[in-house]
Amino acid sequence: MGESKKLAEGASRDPPLGGGCSAKDHLVSHVQLAPEQLYGRMEERVQTVVCDHLTKIYGKSESKALDALSFSLSSRGIFVLIGRNGSGKTTLVRILATELEPTSGKATINGLDVVREARKLREKIAIVPQEARPIPWMTPLQTVRAYLLWRGLGYSEAKHRALQALEKLGLTKSCNELNRKLSGGMRRKVMVATVLSSEADVIFLDEPTTGLDPISRREFWATLREIGRERFTFLTTHYLEEAEELGDKIGILDRGRLIRMGTMKELRDSVSYNYSLKILSGPKEGIPAPETGETITGQDGNVMILTTENEAYRISRELVKQGLKFAVNPISLDDIFFYLARRKAGE
């Protein structure tokens, strides 16, 4: 009854659809929160995720979505998990977010088991699943507030936190628009605002930028950086430049196994060569073999040479003489991923 009354009061306080709103406009004095109360203190933000022989087999399938995956991650900021489609990224995130039970093995977040202590863990985590979108007939404010109510916050506090998160993500003017009237990028921001406004220590974002155009995606990165500054964010993507741009640490998942994990520098160091040459056109027969380095031919027939700086210079001159078009660059995550995934596959 009490909550129904609050609902009636809250509904009457909501501005009409289409109007803007801000946390200040709707500040409820007794729930003013300091930033550290809302987001946690910096030193508390190192989070530990441990997987021990984590295996997932769906139904009677013979293939393993996760294959005895083991790793220990202690990090803050943004951890980006990259991998091809079907590499097991979403399966891992869903298991860690307690939505899916593993077939065998164990996973813990800050010491809490994702299966046995799921209930306790759920107070510490929040997720925006892959393909999640806000309900079209709700507004951003209603969306975020409802999520916070599900997390157990009171009506007034939920409203205040929702307004703060929406303001932080630049959605103040749109917070009373219907979600269906928002752009794709803004809808993603609404979803991110739900977890940002929560008290969760660990935030899972499963491919949050998939489907966004390149410009919107880059704009969205600023939002993700903002979250990473405040919470430990476990993010999956198949956009390698996104991982390079955002990841404080990066993990490379392939066929259910983690083939490498570290900072971008550590990943670069894991490959012996620091330059890549990509042959863009012309006959592949005359491409000089590197004295130091490796030549990789992709499934599409494109040739890439990973090598040292001096050798890259020498090969470049040869390629110029032959009139072949090519690009030479310091090694990127794209190259590392390609190199490691192929080496792991024994190709």
Binding site: S4, R94, A97, E99, A126, P129, A132, Q142, R151
Partner: protein, 243 residues
């Protein structure tokens, strides 16, 4: 827990009705449409039974609606995944969603209530029996709805479940008219549906259908047993965390 229940009510009924008011018309018309057909065909003689049928179907539709809504929120918006990873338990989520379906049905129940007030004559005992029947119908339907929703993987599958439930539990059974209108061999088919027992008890409570005390007791036992059984199925078979 109250705020978690409130969240379900807000998302699944209040916000939808507030921001998308056309759903209110559908909510009111749905149980009334069949009522009007029965009243016209019977030249008004089955008005009381039809009103009771409208009540029973409103309560039963809550489950059908719950199944569709839960599937929609789970598969199309991934909302359920977000709730699973939150402190809300499946029991609280289900309870909140069930209540939200009741809130959603309130406009129809209000119209039916007005009709019942003017055209039905229920004793206090009859009113209590009728209320009991409606509560059992509601519980039965939400148990079915919740269980099916956890198994549906897309909205098309969900629609298929909805149509099947609707046909099995509302179109075939004699909810809006007395079972005596069905020829005897086919009557046994109607007894496969819990809504038949609910309608019999409701019609008996209002004096439209005489039932021996043995038959009435048997109807109550069956209705309660079905409800309990469906809740047991829901609590053991329904999947909150995927395996």
């Amino acid at each position: 827990m109250f705020s978690q229940i409130l969240a379900s009510i807000l998302v699944n009924s209040i916000y939808e009705m507030q921001n998308f008011p056309v759903v209110l018309i559908n909510t009111v018309l749905s149980p009334l449409s069949f009522l009007l057909v029965i009243v016209f065909v019977s030249h008004g003689s089955l008005l009381g039974e039809a009103i009771q049928g409208g009540f029973i179907m409103s309560m039963f539709s809550a489950g059908i609606g719950l199944q569709g809504d839960l599937s929609h929120l789970k598969n199309d918006f991934k909302l359920q995944d977000m709730v699973v990873s939150s402190p809300t338990s499946w029991q609280t989520y289900m309870f909140g969603m069930a209540i939200s379906e009741l809130v959603y049905s309130l406009p129809a129940l209000l119209v039916l209530g007005v009709l019942a007030y003017y055209f039905m004559n229920l004793s206090v005992f009859g009113l209590l029996a009728f209320a009991g029947v409606l509560i059992l119908m509601f519980l039965t339907s939400i148990a079915i709805g919740f269980t099916l929703s956890t198994f549906s993987t897309d909205i098309v599958q969900s629609f298929a479940f909805s149509r099947l439930i609707s046909t099995l539990f509302s179109t075939i059974p004699p909810v809006y008219y007395p079972i005596t209108y069905i020829p005897l061999p086919y009557r046994y088919i109607a007894y496969l549906s819990p809504t038949t027992y609910a309608a019999e008890l409701a019609q008996n409570a209002a004096g439209y259908l005489p039932l021996s005390s043995t038959n009435a007791t048997l109807d109550w036992i069956i209705l309660i047993a079905v409800t309990v059984a469906l809740f047991l199925v829901a609590s053991t078979k329904a999947r909150w965390v995927e395996i």
